[in-house]
Amino acid sequence: MSQNILCTPSPVNDKEALDALLKDRRGKQYYDEMTRLEVDTAALRKLLNDTCRSRIRTWLEICVRCGMCADACAFYLSNEKDPKQVPSYKIQSTLGEIVRRKGNVDNALMRYAMDVAWGKCTCCNRCGLYCPFGIDMGVMMSYLRGLLFSQGFVPWEMKIGSGMHRIYRAQMDVTDEDWIETCEWMEEEWEDDWPGLKIPVDKENADIMYTVNAREPKHYPEDIAEAAVLFNIAGENWTVPGKGWEETSLTMFAGDWEGAKLQVQSVYDALDRLKPKRMVVTECGHAYRATVLEGPYWTGQKSGKTPVETLHYVEWVAEALRTGKLKIDPAKKIKEPVTLHDSCNYVRNGGLSQCGREIMSYIAEDFREMTPNGDHNFCCGGGGGLNGIGKYRKERNDGQKVKRDQILATGAKLVVTPCHNCWDAIRDLEETYKIGIRQSFLKPLLLDMVVVPEHLKPEKE
C-alpha cells in the first residue's frame, strides 16, 4: 500500500481521523494522495461477486445502446447535449468497465468513475423511466458509489460526511446534547408568541415521532420551532427523540453502506424505545429515501418497511389540511404565481407527487406546474450529495440549467421546495443565474396563513 494518510480505503471512524481530514484545505492533499491510491483488485472482484447480481449484470448487458436515455438526463440537457453525459455512456464507461474487467481496473479508471458518479449524476433515477428496458442507471450509479467508497475513491466531503455519521450519528458535528439544547432554546424563544409551546423530547407512546435534518439544529433552528408550532396548532400528540433524531444520510450519498445502516438503525432504535404510532420526517428528500425507502433493507426489515408507519412532512401536511387539523385562512393564501419543485427522492422514488399538489390547492391561488412534473420532474441538481462537493461545483451549477428554464417557463417567482437539498440547490441556482426567484419550505408559508385557534394565541394587550 502506498503512503497515503488521508485518502485510504478505510472509512473514518474516529474524531482524530475526521479532524485530520477537516484540516486538509478543500481536500488538496486528499485528492493528491488519491492519484497514488492503489486499487485492491482482489477485494473489488470479491465485492462484485458478492453484490453484483443478475439485475445489474443484465442491465449492463442488454443495453442496446439506443441512446433514448439521453434526453431524460438533466445533466445531458444542461450541458448542450454533451454525448459524454448520456446516462448509458456514463454507466457503461464506469461500472460497465469494472464489471466486464471483473474488478481488474486501475487508478485512473476509478478516479474517472468517481468524477462521473458524483459529478455527473444525482441518482435522481429519471433515466430509468425513459429506458424501454427499464434500465435504471441511477440505481447502478449508487451501486458504483458503493464500489468506489470501498476502495477509497470518494470525494473529500463525502468521506467527511460519512465520518460524521459514523461518529456523531448526524451529518454534521451536532451531538445529542446540542440537539436537545436547541429544542429547549426554541421552546423558550417562541413561547411568548405561542403560549404553551412545547417540544417534547423522548415522550413515549406519542402519536408522532418527528425527526429532522441535522442542519436544522445546526443552522436553521427556527425550522424546528415552526414544526413545533404547526404540530401544536394541529393538536398533535408528538415528540422528538433525544437520540436517533437525524434522518439524513450522507453515508448513502457516499456509498458507505455500512455507515448508512448504522445511521438508520439509530432512528429505528428510537422508534423501538419511544413506541410512537407514526414517524414524520422533516422536509428533506434524501432523508426520506434513506430512512424510509432504503433503510428497511439496510437494517434487514423483512417487510421492506420502517418499523412503524412513516410519513414525509408533505404527507403529514396534506393529511392535516384534508382532515381540517390545519385550516388555512383563505384571505392569506399565496396570491402571487407559485410553483412547486418535486424532490426526486420522495416523489419519483417515493410516490408522493399528489401530496404536493393537494397542499398547493389549499395554500396557493395561482399554482403553476412545471413541465414535466411529478414522477417525471427533472432534478434540481442538488441531489445525490452534489450540493456539498467542492470538486464538482461547476458540474452541479451547469446541471441546473434545465431546472432554471423549467422554473422560468412557469413565470412564478416563488418556488416551494419541501426538501433541504432542493432548497439549497434552488438558492444556489438563483445565486448563479440571477433569475429573480426565491425558494421556501412549506413550514414558514403555512405559519403565515394557518388559522390559529383562540387558545393558542398570545394574550391580547
Binding site: 473529500w156 443552522h219 433552528p221 467542492g390
Partner: protein
C-alpha cells in the same frame, strides 16, 4: 448593572460605532465583554466551505481560518482590547442572528450591542439603506435581553447616560421596555422622557382634517402615560411627558434630538411583519437608523435581570 455584554461585530468599519459603545459600556459598568464574529454563512449544504460575510468569497472552514479571523478581529480592536482586559473573542460560522442569539442564551448575557447593518448588507442595494440589517432584525425580535443598536456614527459619541427617552406604543412589550428604562434612569439618576407619537400616517385623510380630534388623542395619550407608567415610578420626580403627532419614527427621532437624549428605549415586539409594512421594518428599526442616540430595544421580560 450590566454583567455580561455581548458585542456582535463583523470587524468592519460598519461596526466601529457599535464597537465604541460596546467597549465604553463594558468599561463603564465593569462588565464582561464577549465579542462574537459570525464570519461565514453556510452556503453549500454540508460542504466544508462558508461564504465570508465581508467579502462574499467562498472560504474554507478549518482551525487556521478561524485563528486568522480571530487575529484580524483582535487586531482591529487592539487598542480597545488592550485597555480592557475582561474580554473574550468568539469566532464562529452560521446564520449570524441565530449564532448571536444562541451565544447570548448560552452565556446568559444581559445586553447585546450591535450595529444596524453588516457591511455586506449595506452594499446590497440602495433600498436597503433605509432598512436595518436582517441580522439586527433577527436578533432584536427574538433576544431575551435588551439589544442596543447603533445605526449612525453620530450615535456613538456619548458621555454617559443622563437623558433617557422612552418611546411607547402602550403595548405589553412597551411595559417591559418601560421597566427597563425606568430602572436605568434610576441607576443613573437621570431624567426620563416618556414619549408617545400619535400616528397620523395610518389614516391621513380622516384625521388630519380634524386637529381637534388629534388633540383629543394627545390628551388621552398623556393620561394613559400617567396612569400606566407614573404610578410605577415610586415618586421619582425627574421626568417629562410628551405626546406629539406625526409619523412615529420621525417624531421620536426629532424628540430625542431636542431632549438631548443619550439613549432611546423602545419595545420591539413584532415577530411577524405584515409584508407591506416590512419594507421599512418596524418603527424601532427606523429609529435606530436615524437617531443620533443609541437605541435599546427590549422585547421579552424573561431574561431581564434585576438591575
Amino acid at each position: 448593572m450590566f454583567n455580561k455584554i455581548l458585542f456582535a461585530t463583523t470587524g468592519t468599519p460598519s461596526c466601529d460605532a457599535a464597537a465604541r459603545v460596546a467597549f465604553d459600556m463594558a468599561k463603564r459598568y465593569s462588565a464582561e465583554l464577549i465579542i462574537i464574529n459570525v464570519f461565514g454563512v453556510p452556503s453549500r449544504s454540508f460542504s466544508q466551505t462558508v461564504t465570508d460575510i465581508r467579502t462574499g468569497d467562498e472560504v474554507d472552514l478549518h482551525d487556521d481560518q478561524l485563528e486568522k479571523v480571530k487575529n484580524e478581529l483582535e487586531k482591529t480592536y487592539d487598542q480597545q482590547i488592550k485597555s480592557y482586559t475582561s474580554c473574550e473573542t468568539i469566532i464562529t460560522v452560521g446564520i449570524p442572528h441565530t449564532e448571536i442569539l444562541r451565544l447570548a442564551r448560552k452565556k446568559e448575557c444581559d445586553l447585546i450591542v450591535m450595529g444596524a447593518r453588516t457591511s455586506a448588507e449595506e452594499n446590497e442595494n440602495s433600498v436597503n439603506r433605509h432598512v436595518v440589517g436582517r441580522t439586527l432584525q433577527g436578533v432584536a425580535r427574538s433576544a431575551r435581553c435588551p439589544v442596543l443598536a447603533i445605526g449612525r456614527a453620530a450615535a456613538s459619541f456619548w458621555g454617559g447616560i443622563s437623558n433617557i427617552v422612552f418611546g411607547t406604543d402602550f403595548s405589553k412589550a412597551s411595559d417591559e421596555a418601560f421597566k427597563f428604562a425606568f430602572n436605568l434612569t434610576k441607576t443613573f439618576n437621570g431624567s426620563l422622557h416618556l414619549f408617545h407619537a400619535i400616528d397620523i400616517s395610518a389614516d391621513p385623510f380622516e384625521i388630519t382634517k380634524d386637529q381637534d380630534g388629534i388633540e383629543d388623542q394627545i390628551r388621552e395619550a398623556r393620561e394613559k402615560i400617567r396612569s400606566r407608567y407614573l404610578s410605577k415610578m415610586e415618586g421619582y420626580s425627574d421626568y417629562e411627558i410628551d405626546v406629539w403627532e406625526g409619523i412615529p419614527y420621525v417624531e421620536i427621532v426629532k424628540y430625542a434630538r431636542e431632549s438631548f437624549a443619550d439613549l432611546i428605549v423602545m419595545a420591539h415586539h413584532t415577530k411577524k411583519m405584515d409584508p407591506e409594512k416590512a419594507v421599512l421594518g418596524s418603527t424601532v428599526e427606523q429609529v435606530v437608523l436615524r437617531s443620533n442616540a443609541p437605541v435599546i430595544s427590549v422585547n421579552h421580560p424573561a431574561r431581564q435581570k434585576k438591575l
